[in-house]
């Protein structure tokens, strides 16, 4: 039981009414929605961030463990407190703090439920994309802790793709802001790392959510199958045709029967499986898209497929999907929901395996799952009161998990590792991989008092074998090492570590000037020989390349399958994939297609200890362990040397067409706001000013099916005209170069290149006020991504300080991405220090203890 002095202290912090001690409290906070159970010492209900921090400080001082909790709907035991720790329950942090529709953000406290967010946004025509099936009762804090998905994440991505900022109480009680209102804060992707960390790195008390306008139209279809394998094949057929439905959900015959028994929503009882397929977007072309889907399904042996004729019928179809867990709950007292992900093409095999294993272990089961993501949720029915059954059901789930991993999948797609999947972690991670993640954890929580006993299996002492010393230093031209493969790269790193040398991972070198002035001279560790295709799986829309593969070569390879990686970084013609990922580089298409952080499924890299570490995998949903993929993406070579990169590819659009028109910046901003607030789905919305020409050129791009693009072009023209600009002209742009290649090249070739990351609403004001020295080569105002790029011939210290002050005033940040070394020796290119940058250095110290990689380049230079 908890120490009475500490209990008294907790009562003083939050008030005596907000501490729950005693048997009843211990009993009713001993569980979540999983099968795990353990009694906590005491439950504390802080009322705000400050109280949360004070509670954490008190616990930290006493060395008492704690577990964050919201509504306790976790499906992997993540919110059950082990070691009689303190439950910190955030149900009182239940307010929506700020809604900024023009800026497309929502600031909330983390005890707000997902559905409350949706309900607040719906009347305004907006939504928050993650929509876990438990959204009624799942809090944002839980969504963040688990990196939740939901039916609609097929089209829009998971939680991490929609969190812009977090306010976090760290295990030592310090409060930090990770990110903010802008898309790309400088430094490591701390919010990306935090999302999905399952309460082991701290407690998020507030979040800034990215919100989006609701689609103009939606078509919901029910496809009926006599063979579940045909249904699974239809999924692949649809995705590989370049159609991304909003949802693609499957239910098997057991679920259909159970649902029809309880709510009657019109599924045929004799079907082997049904798919609920929903497409949404612009009304124009949506019907054609639905028709293509229908044809594809019929070609795969679909018995029949019909569209919901009205919202009542649509709701009825969804009622069945949403009621599926409930329906099954009526059949047996308990169920275990497994949560594995396989490549979509392996779904037929995975379903057979699930059926076989359930039968083998003697459990009745049903399947209702996110087929489009390959995310299976077999429901195993049993009675938890029977301890023998309980043990066996865990065995069965483990066998199913292992089978899915054998098929190329992973152990958890969205429910988290928690307690239930700890044993499975070794199926996908080596001891070195786990050690790397443990080191991340130690950086945040050296005593492991935050949610102890979750995610990580205990270390295996024998596995931590001493690293063999390399036979000889690799042959290398002066100042450059060229490892032949990952193994040799490991040896290079170990050799460097031993000799106290510094390495700068490098690809083609065209983006190599990033970051602060290095502490020590660096040897360039080049990826040239890690070049080429490792795996291209067009049906799954997954491609794996060596990090040294030139961007252009990778795209050319993918174009053979009419696919591509929809990221257009600056200098794309020259850079490597590794360079793009290491810098998180992307063009203004980021809003629509995503940044590298949004397109990376996994990667491999050589750590500062000279070990090749695996992060993520090849499936679109993956929450196994910490998100090392996002930590490495954008880490600018300071944490490791990238070796392999797994991308989520996209189908090549039929048409890339844009509008352009000249006007002053304010007018461009008005037009941009009108376009962004509409139901159009632009790929980019920018204004560009080049060289001596007066005024700005507004550009709005659309990509996709010809019919949809054409309608958007027409509507976009009208919107721009209504906002006061002349009629814009239309132009087609090449797929790979995009519409900004020349501008980005000019930006990169400027003596000084500055990239300001701002709240979307602050973009227009920023370059408008900025000093524009004569000869300013290029300015790009990216209204959609909240980014302003300034290419300048010169930059004085006071000017730079002025820019820093104005960006920070606007709630953003600025980075000098390119400058002469003389400037860098004098100034921190990331601007004035921010408190959370301490963590960047702690992470660096923990993960690259010898400071082998790019020492000194991080934000917040020491000394």
């Amino acid at each position: 039981m908890i120490d009475p002095v500490l209990l008294q202290q907790l009562r003083r912090i939050v008030g005596p009414d907000h501490v729950l001690a005693g048997h009843v409290g211990a009993e009713v906070y001993s569980y979540d929605a999983s099968l795990a159970q353990a009694a906590p010492g005491v439950v504390v209900f802080p009322g705000d961030t400050a109280e949360t921090a004070a509670v954490v400080r008190a616990l930290s001082a006493a060395g008492v463990p704690c577990t964050p909790r919201g509504f306790g709907t976790n499906l992997s035991g993540g919110s059950v407190a082990l070691q009689h720790g303190v439950v910190i329950c955030l149900t009182r942090l239940n307010r929506i703090l700020h809604m900024d529709i023009p800026g497309r953000i929502l600031r909330v406290q983390c005890g707000v439920t997902n559905l409350e967010v949706q309900n607040a946004l719906a009347p305004l025509g907006y939504f928050f994309a993650p929509d876990p099936a438990s959204q009624k009762a799942a809090t944002l804090g839980g969504n963040i802790g688990e990196n939740s998905g939901g039916p609609h994440c097929l089209k829009y991505g998971v939680t991490v793709n929609h969190i812009l900022g977090l306010e976090v109480v760290l295990p030592d009680g310090e409060v930090h802001s990770f990110g903010g209102e802008g898309f790309d804060p400088p430094g490591y992707d701390l919010r990306g790392l935090f999302v999905g960390s399952e309460g082991t790195l701290g407690i998020a008390t507030e979040a800034v959510l990215r919100i989006m306008p609701r689609a103009e139209a939606v078509i919901t279809m029910l496809a009926v199958y006599d063979d579940i394998a045909d249904a699974a094949r239809s999924v692949t057929a649809i995705i590989s045709q370049g159609i991304v439905p909003a949802t693609l959900e499957m239910m098997d015959t057991v679920i259909i029967g159970a649902v029809e028994d309880s709510i009657h929503c019109g599924y045929p009882r004799d079907a082997a499986a049904v798919l609920i397929i929903e497409v949404e977007g612009l009304a124009a072309g949506l019907g054609a898209q639905a028709a293509r889907i229908q044809a594809l399904c019929m070609a795969q042996g679909c018995r029949s497929i019909r569209e919901a004729s009205d919202s009542a019928e649509r709701n009825q179809l969804w009622a069945g999907r949403r009621g599926a867990f409930g329906a099954i709950a009526r059949i047996a007292p308990s169920y275990l929901v497994a949560d594995c992900t396989v490549p979509r093409t392996r779904l037929p095999e995975a379903l057979l395996e699930v059926a076989r294993l359930c039968q083998h272990h003697g459990f009745k089961s049903g399947n209702v799952f996110h087929a489009g993501d390959g995310n299976l949720h077999p429901l195993l029915l049993f009675d938890a009161r029977d301890k023998a059954q309980l043990a066996r059901v865990h065995e069965a789930a483990m066998d199913i998990t292992a089978a899915c991993v054998r098929l190329g999948g992973t152990i958890t797609g969205e429910h988290g590792v928690g307690m239930e999947k700890i044993g499975a972690m070794r199926l996908v991670f080596s001891e070195h991989d786990l050690d790397f993640q443990r080191a991340v954890r130690k950086t945040f929580d050296p005593r492991e008092t935050f949610n102890p006993g979750k995610m990580f299996p205990p270390p295996v002492p024998s596995a931590a074998t001493p690293v063999a010393t390399p036979a000889a230093p690799p042959p290398a031209p002066a100042g450059e090492w060229l490892p032949a493969d990952a193994q040799e790269a490991c040896e290079c790193v170990r050799a460097a570590a031993r000799a106290g040398l510094a390495l700068l991972p490098a690809g083609s070198g065209c983006l190599g000037g990033f970051g602060n002035h290095p502490d020590r001279p660096e040897i360039r560790l080049r990826s040239d020989q890690l070049c080429g295709v490792i795996d291209v799986d067009p049906a799954n829309q997954v491609a794996v390349f060596g990090s040294g593969t030139p961007w252009a070569a990778a795209q050319a390879r993918l174009l053979e399958h009419r696919q591509w990686i929809p990221i257009r970084p600056p200098l794309s013609g020259a850079c490597t994939l590794g360079g793009m990922v290491a810098l998180g580089a992307c063009g203004p298409e980021r809003m629509y297609h995503g940044a590298p952080r949004d397109r990376m499924l996994g990667l491999k890299f050589v750590s500062g200890l000279g070990r090749e570490i695996v992060a993520g995998g090849k499936v679109v949903k993956n929450v196994a362990g910490y998100d090392m993929t996002r930590l490495l993406t954008g880490s600018a070579g300071t944490l490791g040397f990238l070796t392999e990169l797994n991308f989520r590819t996209a189908s090549v659009p039929e048409v890339c067409r844009a509008l352009r028109v000249r006007g002053d910046l304010a007018a461009c901003a008005r037009a941009a706001a009108a376009v962004l607030h509409s139901t159009l789905e632009p790929v980019f919305v920018t204004a560009v000013s080049r060289g001596p020409e007066p005024g700005w050129e507004l550009r709005v791009g659309f990509e996709g099916f010809a019919e949809t693009v054409e309608v958007q072009i027409k509507k976009g023209q009208a919107l721009i005209r209504e906002s006061g600009l002349p009629l814009p002209e239309t132009f087609d742009y090449p797929l790979l170069e995009g519409a900004h290649a020349a501008d980005l090249a000019a930006f990169c070739s400027s003596a000084f290149a500055i990239c300001a990351n701002l709240p979307a609403g602050a973009v227009a004001g920023f370059p408008g006020d900025a000093p524009t020295p004569p000869g300013s080569s290029c300015r790009i105002a990216d209204f959609a991504c909240g980014r302003v790029s300034l290419g300048l011939p010169a930059l004085s210290g006071p000017d730079w300080q002025g820019i820093c002050a104005r960006t920070s005033q606007a709630g953003g940040s600025a980075v000098v991405t390119q400058a002469p070394e003389a400037f860098k020796q004098q100034f921190d290119v990331f601007g004035p220090p921010r408190p959370e940058w301490r963590l960047l250095h702690d992470l660096k110290d923990g993960l690259d203890p010898g400071h082998v990689f790019a020492p000194g380049r991080l934000p917040g230079r020491k000394g």
Binding site: G22, E27, D32, A33, S134, A327, P333, S334, A384
Partner: protein, 425 residues
């Protein structure tokens, strides 16, 4: 029945947590102790002998509104309210009962005239200001230590109860052939006599004959507290009265009474000879909302334009499944704009005596209701349960909202021409 016998039912809770969304107590407190999942977990711990029957359980068991919203949001549709009732009964047996409440249930409630007398005493006390209600009615103190504050919930007691004005007996109606028994709930009788008068008037329009019953309390308050035996004694008394004449329908304007009367058969102790009579009575019971028809005659010229909204009493919407009927009635009124109340089916926190026994939680629940009410911009809030009317009136008074709270029947009657009939006053 011991709670252990419900083990199979209890084990069906798979702890998904969806009940938290709908539970007004949980939304007010954020506490797992105050939501179905937590209560079921406690029951399970009791059955599995991880917990003991003691006073620590009291809050878990008695802080439930019994509103039933959890069941409506529960995948296996666990009847949590029923399980809680069983547990309360067992708690009283094992841990001890409150003697004052026992007195209230066994000495006061079986006698409607005593209830009216007590209310009159309380009303006198309130009006004179000399004694507070709680003091005039010392019995009520048994509801708990919050009572001193909760006394203000009741603004004033009507000078005369409904059945002081309209004596029990038979009244003619203008309807076709129906013989209706009007079951007068305690709340309508002593707190909302105007609603009673309006209801009688509406019943007279649909029935040939309306009998105002001299019934006693339906038994819901003791049943809700866990005093099953006391509840059955009241029910038995009413069953005898209701079986004494060949009524076609038994109607009440209190949705809580209606819901409970319909459940009389489940209350009959095993082997009791009254079982068939209980079933016969229950089959005839209707909520007033089910029998009133929208006024066919054009309403009076002078009817003012009203914006009206409706609060679903738990015992109407979940207790009896009545949701469309009241809305249709209100929408049918001329010169009335009906606006839906957000979260209309959320409990108002009144829940019988809950507002007295759990003032703070009840107050928070009420505040949520008032936030929603203010959003509608309605001038009239209609409902169909006197306990709700009291609680909602209290909320409106606290917020100083320009809203009249009344029974659906009052609103309809005020807009219905009923010439030639003796108008109840």
């Amino acid at each position: 029945m011991a709670i252990a016998e419900q083990y199979d039912e209890i084990a069906r809770c798979n702890r998904c947590g969806f009940c938290q969304v709908a539970c007004p107590v949980f939304r007010a407190t954020g506490r797992e102790t105050g939501v179905a999942r937590g209560r079921i977990a406690m029951l399970r711990a009791l059955v599995e002998k991880r917990a003991e029957w003691n006073r620590e359980l009291e809050n878990s068991l008695f802080a439930c509104l019994l509103c039933g919203a959890c069941t409506a949001n529960c995948f296996p549709a666990l009847p949590t309210s029923d399980l809680i009732l069983e547990a309360r009964t067992e708690y009283l047996e094992r841990v001890g009962r409150n003697p004052l409440l026992r007195l209230l249930f066994t000495r006061l409630l079986p006698h409607p005239e005593r209830v009216r007398l007590a209310a009159r005493a309380a009303g006198l006390g309130k009006r004179s200001g000399a004694t507070r209600v709680a003091k005039a009615l010392k019995l009520l103190r048994c509801f708990g230590r919050d009572l001193e504050r909760s006394e203000e919930i009741v603004d004033r007691f009507p000078a005369r109860a409904f059945r002081d004005t309209v004596k029990p007996g038979s009244y003619p109606g203008s309807g076709e052939s129906l013989r209706i028994a009007y079951f007068v709930g305690c709340g309508t009788d002593v707190m909302c006599p105007a609603a009673g008068a309006a209801s009688l008037q509406l019943l007279q329009l649909v029935a040939r004959r309306v009998t105002v019953l001299d019934n006693c309390c339906c038994g819901l308050p003791p049943r809700a507290y866990g005093e099953r035996d006391a509840a059955w004694k009241l029910a038995a008394k009413n069953i005898a009265l209701l079986s004494s004449e060949p009524f076609d329908l038994i109607v009440t304007d209190c949705s809580s009474c209606a819901s409970f009367l319909k459940k009389y058969p489940a209350l009959v102790p095993p082997g009791d000879p009254l079982a068939p009579a209980a079933a016969a009575v229950a089959a005839k019971v209707r909520d007033l909302l089910e029998v009133v028809v929208p006024p066919s005659a054009p309403s009076l010229q002078a009817d003012e334009h009203l914006i009206v909204t409706y609060h679903d009493p738990c015992h109407a919407v979940r207790g009896q499944g009545l949701s469309a009927q009241p809305r249709n009635l209100l929408r049918a009124l001329k010169n009335v704009e009906y606006r839906e109340l957000p979260e209309a089916d959320w409990c108002c926190g009144g829940a019988g005596s809950y507002a007295l026994s759990h003032y703070d939680v009840s107050r928070k629940i009420l505040e949520r209701k008032m936030d929603n009410l203010a959003r509608t911009g309605a001038g009239v809030l209609a409902t169909s349960c006197p306990a709700c009317i009291l609680q909602l009136s209290y909320g409106v008074r606290l917020r100083q909202l320009p809203v009249r709270v009344c029974h659906v029947s009052e609103l309809i009657a005020s807009r219905t021409q009923a010439p030639g009939l003796p108008r109840a006053t």
